[in-house]
Subunit: 347 residues, 4 copies
């Protein structure tokens, strides 16, 4: 089959993925499933993998190279292992990014991303920038019949990360309260839609890009700010004292230090983006009784719920398609911030 493989890590990102013919995956255990890839989202984590950011944790000696990246996958079931009962060849599916075991206590709690035996196709093992992908039954969700894989692939990672944090925020937000969303990119534009579906609070989108601010307005953000130097004061003025929740999809370049300053007493700063460092006096945390909370990729049930909202047309992914042959163009466009919404690779 045709696949795009990574052959070297390079901080300067001068490497290209090599489009080549590789053997198709085969089923080796009764719970495995081969998916014919319909589309695979291109994620900032893919750039970080190429740069070698994850090398130390994932592949210190480079022994895993070359491999197929791509961890936001959707397609059609091609073949199933002997024990698989819930899907059959031909079913359209989206793939939760992690192949979880279903046995460890974290799986039993429903927190698939914490799985102690998880395998993450696309991160150190073959993923979805190819014609076929190997995963397992527990990763699969059947698509509603009116939904095409290419429309939803990035929901598998970008989507559920945004959904999970929006759902957590919604739990503490009542009508009349405010939720600020920093960054209206691939995740932020999903989070805005989810917040509007999951609670009656008011949203404040904060974005430097005019195009993204326009998207935020179209998606119904109640307020849109341009993130200028006075953004904390502006937000405090607008909200009468601060937001009840701030969701930070940036997490670096100083944004992470502004977010907790935007909170009102009792508020929560949810962190999704990363790279920077939180530095805050304990006295400030206590006097304002704020919380600073990280939020990961969503679990399987969160992807199920998000796909329900998507099937009903309530939460949609804005994306731009590239053929697998053009994946290196997609990567370049992404680096140069020329993709609107999410880039999606179609084999």
């Amino acid at each position: 089959m045709k696949a795009a493989r990574l052959y070297a890590y390079d901080k300067a990102m001068n490497v290209e993925l090599k489009i080549e013919t590789v053997p198709e995956p085969t089923i080796n255990s009764p719970d495995e499933v081969i998916v014919r890839v319909g589309a695979a989202g291109l994620c900032r984590t893919d750039l970080h993998i190429i740069e070698g950011v994850w090398r130390d944790e994932m592949d210190a000696d480079g022994a895993l190279l070359p491999y197929v990246m791509g961890h936001e996958n959707a397609g059609w079931v091609e073949a199933v292992g002997a024990g698989v009962k819930s899907v059959k060849p031909g079913d359209a599916v989206i793939c939760h990014p992690l192949r979880s075991c279903g046995i460890c206590l974290d799986c039993r709690r429903g927190e698939d991303m914490y799985c102690q035996n998880g395998i993450f196709p696309g991160l150190g093992t073959d993923g979805g920038f190819a014609e076929y992908l190997l995963t397992n039954e527990r990763a699969l969700i059947k698509l509603n019949e009116n939904v095409l894989p290419v429309e939803v692939a990035p929901m598998a990672d970008a989507g559920i990360t945004a959904y999970r944090v929006a759902k957590r925020a919604a739990k503490i937000l009542n009508p009349g309260s405010y939720c600020a969303v920093l960054g209206v990119g691939g995740l932020g534009h999903i989070a805005l839609q989810c917040l509007h579906e999951l609670c009656g609070a008011r949203t404040i989108a904060i974005e430097r890009s005019e195009a993204a601010r326009k998207l935020a307005r179209e998606l119904g953000a109640h307020h849109v700010l341009d993130g200028g130097p006075d953004v904390v004061a502006e937000l405090k003025d607008l909200t009468g004292g601060g937001a009840h929740a701030v969701i930070d999809f940036v997490g670096e370049l100083g944004a992470e230090q502004l977010c907790w300053q935007m909170l009102r007493k009792g508020g929560t700063h949810f962190i999704v983006g990363y790279g920077g460092q939180i530095e805050v006096p304990t006295l400030h945390i206590i006097l304002n009784e704020i919380a600073i909370a990280g939020s990961l990729v969503g679990n399987y049930m969160e992807l199920v719920e998000l796909m329900e909202l998507n099937a009903e047309g309530r939460v949609k992914m804005h994306a731009q398609q590239y053929s697998l042959d053009n994946i290196n163009t997609a990567i370049t466009d992404f680096k140069n911030r020329q993709i609107v919404g999410r880039g999606v690779i179609v084999p």
Copy 2:
């Protein structure tokens, strides 16, 4: 001032309220407030008071007669007691139905309706079918400047009852789950709107009146059923096994017995309407692990939250106005089910 007073209880409801001139209320304690009534909603409980349903609990010997009914009030602050700080004459306000004490443990928990020292204007003591109403500071919420009292008066009771139960249901409803709403009248049409704002679940409106079904569709109910003899089977089929929550605004005439049969495993039947009797085998309750839960009038914070949704145009009361002089016509229309949405009395 002009007021409509009740002089007798009558099961046949042949009595009329007497429109007459009575002394204006006066402030007797530092927390009291006189409100110039802008509008007062007409509630089914008013019919029940006239019928004498509440007589035994409220006024066994009729000693409270005559008095002014009307417990869904909004207007403008006319005068304030010496200790009142949060409102001033001229402020437009809506009145939480209960004058709560703020001292008892139930008030401290935020459950104003449980207040051990509460006074309920309109139920056994003078209410809002008059030019002026006496209440206290703790009952008042200032209206947003774009909101008129006449637009919101029934929110004070019908509205928050629907909001409270919708908020409780929303807590257990995720995207993809189903919430059935039985009865799309004064409360049900508010509950539908609240559910759509507070969670991502699908709503199923069940109503026998075609006009009300039409309203349900306009308000965005995802499914509308006519409540025929096969309603339980229809709903189970539609939902693939039963609803996750059912809100029963009828509570009598057999509806109360259908509702818990509509639930899927783990579901909750919320009861708001009353009159009938629940009869269910314990074995059924356990095997299906269902809950049957009553829901009361909302508390002060719930009215605050509902007024936020209303001020943003997200939840609106459908109402029909009558002058105070025509209150007996309003009552007759209500009895004859000729009012669309809620009847509102304007002095």
Copy 3:
């Protein structure tokens, strides 16, 4: 192997289980595990099976007979299927009663008992009144090294049913509030211990048997009532208006109708026992804003948590042992209410 099998249903319970030699179970799928039974609890549901109460739902034509009963099992792993990784031969384990699939949405939510593909050894398929038991990997929890199977077998069903409802009640109980427990038998004596560990509320044990009341006092119940004809009035007096939660382990013979009358405003009546019928006016439910909620057998994580409390000596099962050869004596003793705590069969 030696096993006790049921050959006929009989409402009069004149049948005996037949102690005989049957083939040992064999592993037929990669997730299966054979457990050498250390002990198996005797449950009231076993009596109901013999009486034919479950016949219509489980085995209408008797085609499943004969089979080995016993669904509260603990022992040692004897053999494992090819895919099993979390346990190995020799491990001491307790068995969650259901062999769940780990794939259906109910499993993914963590509600093993709702599993759409669950198999229940001991109910219509061979269980643990034998030397060996066939189950699957997802059902097993390794015992702490200081714990013996015979000490905990009934935790697998009686224990987690009590734990689940106690945990649910604990969530709504604050220090100063009251929880009534009706019935201090096999489940009730565990629920009392769990409540004392999980929350700061006061417990009120209600029991007609003096021996069980004595046990309740030893376990630290804050109040013990004998369940006489004035029990509702006694409880209301003791609690200053009613309990915040009532856990009903009886569910029949009129107890089910007393329990909701014991609640204070906003309280919850949890039902675990069954047989009777709830009959309550909707007006009562609403005015008091009470809830009536069924509670099932606990899920896997609840058994994990209960075993932690047990391993620390905080929750213990009171039991009486019988050899497998004497199982019919155990059944007779159970029928005649001569077992203190739980009866346990040791092969």
Copy 4:
């Protein structure tokens, strides 16, 4: 009356409170209450006030001096305002530290400490190091008849701060999980007792003082560590990967940086002590999905609940008494860490 007043702020703490005769407080509004002080706890915040730590926020120009400190008060009602109904002269009471208004939205939510019109006797206005104290009805909780003011005064602030954070932690702690408590002083020893009452988790007390470690063991801490240089590794080893919650009563001197490192995935670091600064990479927060959350003084209902636990003998304050004449000795002992548990001033 006799009172101890502060006349100057001094970073070196060389000032003494002046014991002198001052006018008794008088009632000026209908909700006010005069309490004859039974005892007043000495708090680290009192030292900070003397040092001038709070000067900028509370009394920048020193205009409030001289005044009576003491914000952990209990005693007997001496006189009540015209509107007071829930207490009468002679009642033994404990005083929530804040005189809250009961009208603002924060009060309505039950978060008394957020009250927008709160008055804090002992911080910038006369407190309880005197024979009489002026407060209001909303601050008072009647003591159970078997409880003396001197036994509970520090519960009013130290106690509810510990209770609030323990209750928040208990909500996320199941049997088998671990909660570390850093610092077993006036607050920490209460938190340990509360955790043992409110949940089934295991506690790990971390303390450098041998006397405090001894107290922790007596109070039933499941593990006790001495907080040496390897404390993070020790704790991770003990817990098999980290604690589910860490409560930090130190918040300075580096402890604040160790606490979040002690967490397992999904854990929460609760901060109560202050002085230091949190510095943590966003990547660490996200990958481990941890939360860092401040916790304030408890609200009124939390004090009610704590007093219930205290009245039942389940949570007790360890304290050392000083007469009002010896208050400066108490302050010196406190500075020199010579007080076991809490210091209490008896007028």
